[in-house]
């Protein structure tokens, strides 16, 4: 009896959480007239693919959606690759290389940086890129994410726990540091690297504030920044069209989220564990 009641509560809550997403999907198949009619039909009366077709053809509200999506995917992938490579190398050195100079200074500095609020670097970073003439470039969209210390922190913990014997056996066999890193530690850390990759990709892909300010030309926008721009503009009530864009924007992260959910949860848990 009690169990049934709990399940009922859980189902109602699930409906509350999912409804806005279902509403988004449903509206994306409505024409603007139907979307604005204010009726609560979840299944469109006259379902239309117009919004999607026009979007993919590039003539939805005169914005280059396919370009925005490509930008987002590229920026997310490149940013993730940089974070994975650089943080794993740094974490390897900090965790395994005894003769790394200034280790005692660097480690707390990296970890402590996770406490720093983003607004502290936002404006000066913008000025930095502005001075370099890098506003509206992929460099501006990708590089700022490379300084995040979460990956270093996560991988440091993993690398530190790695058994010393295997490393020493490899050393006796004549492996150098690079070989120990690339042939032993990296292959052993595939699962945690995947976790970090999912976490990082979703973070970069979903960010919209930095891309909104660091790009001004329409074709350099990421999809999330593009949507933010349209949400402020005169398109705010073209719900059918807007929703087809949000569905397209959300699809890649949802796929990654559902496939990698376990890893994602693990990363959050590990971030929460001191």
């Amino acid at each position: 009896m009690k169990k049934t009641l709990l399940i009922l509560v859980a189902v109602i809550l699930a409906a509350v959480f999912l409804l806005p997403l279902i509403w988004m999907l449903s509206t994306s198949f409505k024409n603007d007239f139907e979307a604005l009619a204010g009726q609560m039909n979840l299944i469109p009366k006259k379902p239309t693919f117009e919004n999607y077709l026009n979007g993919l053809k590039g003539n939805l509200m005169n914005v280059p959606i396919t370009r925005w999506i490509s930008n987002s995917l590229f920026v997310g992938a490149a940013g993730t690759a940089i974070v994975l490579l650089f943080s794993s190398m740094a974490a390897f050195a900090l965790a395994r290389l005894q003769d790394l100079p200034l280790k005692k200074l660097m480690f707390p500095m990296f970890i402590g940086s996770m406490m720093i609020p983003g607004i502290l670097t936002f404006l000066p970073m913008y000025m930095e890129f502005n001075t370099l003439g890098w506003i509206n470039t992929y460099a501006a969209l990708i590089l700022p994410y490379s300084s995040g210390a979460f990956g270093v922190f996560l991988l440091f913990q993993f690398f530190s726990a790695f058994p010393k014997e295997i490393e020493e056996a490899a050393r006796i066999d004549g492996a150098n540091k690079w070989q120990i890193y690339s042939r032993i530690l990296l292959p052993a850390s595939v699962s945690i690297m995947v976790t970090l990759a999912i976490f990082t990709f979703m973070g970069i892909y979903n960010d919209f504030v930095w891309p909104l300010y660091s790009t001004t030309s329409p074709e350099m926008r990421t999809i999330t920044a593009g949507i933010a721009m349209m949400a402020q503009g005169s398109y705010t009530q073209a719900y059918g069209k807007l929703m087809s864009m949000t569905v397209i924007a959300t699809l890649p992260v949802f796929i990654i989220f559902i496939v990698g959910q376990r890893s994602f949860v693990k990363a959050i848990t590990q971030a929460g564990v001191k």
Binding site: D99, F110, M243
Partner: protein, 297 residues
């Protein structure tokens, strides 16, 4: 022991170097540069930047000045948001985790996914969805109210509804994060504590207060700290949903800082505001951290 030659130290350094360079270029130098900018009359479009010392800061602290208004109203609005959202994010996050743990194991994962799903979407997508949900005429919520013969609510333009809307969207969007952390903490409470308590005749509420709460105390404090920091950094919701309105009642500090820089083109005074904002956030988190972990040691 491995010999520590100069060459060996050099190769060790090479491993950290790429990250270290990024760290310097996109974190350390920007912080220092931000402090430098805040001491200058730094107009976005002009070439010359005159040194003005603490002028930007002084203006923020001078009652009646434009910057003072921007900073204090922004800060007050941000703090209101923190006060409204954080208790709900913590309490409801825990409630959701408790509910999840009571569900049969088979369906637990499914429901966790449902509650956690909104966390995966971007702030801008979240905002566009809720613009539509809250729409006065065509929105889902007012449609629901109409069915119950309740007059439409101006969710995004009237007080106090703007705050209700901002808090609702925030809960929907981010509570899954807190739920996950709480769920893990709940799972780590030893089962025999509960069994022993049951034998002693403790009811569910008693067990919750005497066993669950003390056991998850560190995690609870972690959630309070992270939720407070996140709420202090609130931006997407008021920026895209209420646009700071009605009037300036939901203009949060971060909006004022970015507007001062990009609309007002005054990066110097905006940087001073940003630094003060960061200092406030750091002080709050240090105080909360001390409060949470200080007494134990």
């Amino acid at each position: 022991m491995v010999k520590s030659t100069l060459q060996s130290r050099l190769t060790s350094t090479l491993f950290v170097l790429p990250y270290l360079l990024c760290f310097c270029a996109f974190l350390l130098i920007p912080i220092l540069y931000g402090v430098y900018i805040s001491f200058h009359n730094f107009e976005l479009l002009s070439e010359k930047h005159a040194f003005v010392g603490f002028d930007n800061y002084m203006k923020i602290f001078t009652p009646g000045s434009y910057l003072f208004e921007q900073f204090t109203t922004g800060l007050w609005n941000t703090m209101q948001f923190v006060l409204y959202s954080v208790p709900l994010l913590v309490v409801l996050g825990l409630a959701l985790a408790l509910l999840l743990n009571q569900l049969p194991k088979r369906i637990r994962g499914l429901f966790r996914t449902f509650y956690f799903m909104p966390y995966a979407i971007s702030g801008s997508v979240m905002a566009v969805i809720w613009l539509m949900m809250f729409d006065t005429n065509a929105g889902f919520l007012n449609g629901l109210l109409a069915k119950m013969h309740i007059d439409p609510v101006a969710w995004l333009t009237d007080l106090p509804w703007v705050w209700v809307s901002l808090v609702l969207t925030t809960l929907w969007w981010t509570i899954g994060f807190n739920m996950i952390i709480f769920t893990n903490a709940l799972n780590e409470v030893p089962e025999d504590y509960y069994e022993a308590a049951s034998i002693d005749g403790a009811n569910a509420w008693r067990r919750f207060v005497s066993i669950t709460l003390p056991s998850i105390r560190p995690v609870m404090l972690f959630i309070i700290i992270t939720s407070t920091i996140a709420s202090f950094n609130v931006y997407a919701q008021p920026f895209l949903l209420t646009r700071g309105g009605p009037g300036n009642s939901t203009r949060v500090l971060l909006m004022n800082v970015l507007d001062e820089a990009f609309k007002g083109k005054q990066v110097g005074s905006a940087s001073a505001m940003a630094i003060l904002m960061a200092v406030i956030i750091i002080i709050i988190s240090v105080v909360q951290y001390r409060f949470a972990y200080g007494r134990k040691e």
